[in-house]
Symmetry: C3
């Protein structure tokens, strides 16, 4: 049995213009890496954006519960009042999880 | 501590031709938004599709447990008998989760 | 209520050059299918790769707990010593889950 550490998968979906800022914040709050996927979407505002404007970015990071909490606080303070951002956390079992703490 | 609401992350993977129909059904059953990712894949039929046919869409939506159940029922009735569709649900903690209900 | 089976969502993020090998291993260890997403990322080594080198693949498979464990062992033996690979498991409720076992 390979040991796996329980950590958090933090997922953030936002307009692409926020990508660099989100990654900088994630880094500064303790994330050691991230995966980025180009996605599109329609939010709870019910507005289907144009071909270009609908392009969002999904940023995923494996982090400790503390880093997830700190990023949630940052999002609540600095992003949610101004931008359409989705953020959620899922508990995950990670191989070689010590790399992420 | 920022409050987070426990909701469901509903993920559906299907042929791209089903995209509009799936999103219409999700909406009509109560989903407030979705994220779409272009993916490829190979299913349990063991057939590797051609470059074009292998292109699938992954639709993710943060929903209440009730909306997830309703969409599962819709999938079982109207999709699974006819199409190769994958659907699963994961519990997630969502920042500002009240937006999704 | 549509019955859903509890299975594992196994996610692997790796350099694209490993894609075929990872899928072959997943298959041989019992996975019945997979979904592939093209992603980019930055790992715990802190090196931002060039436009091309940063391109990774995310492979997701719905598997039994046994298949997830076997793939974790394979990753620990044959991949982690040599490559930057991220792997984690999430419990999921899957519609028509019997297809994946």
């Amino acid at each position: 049995m390979v040991s796996a550490v329980e950590l958090k998968l933090l997922t953030i979906v936002a307009e692409r213009v926020l990508e660099e800022r989100l990654i900088r914040d994630l880094r500064s709050l303790g994330a050691r890496g991230y995966t980025k996927t180009e996605v599109t979407g329609e939010g709870s505002r019910g507005v289907r954006a144009s071909e270009w404007e609908g392009k969002n970015v999904k940023i995923e990071a494996i982090v400790s519960p503390e880093v997830a909490d700190r990023m949630f606080e940052r999002l609540a303070e600095a992003y949610f009042p101004h931008f359409a951002v989705i953020a959620y956390v899922i508990p995950v079992h990670v191989v070689r999880g010590d790399k992420y703490i």
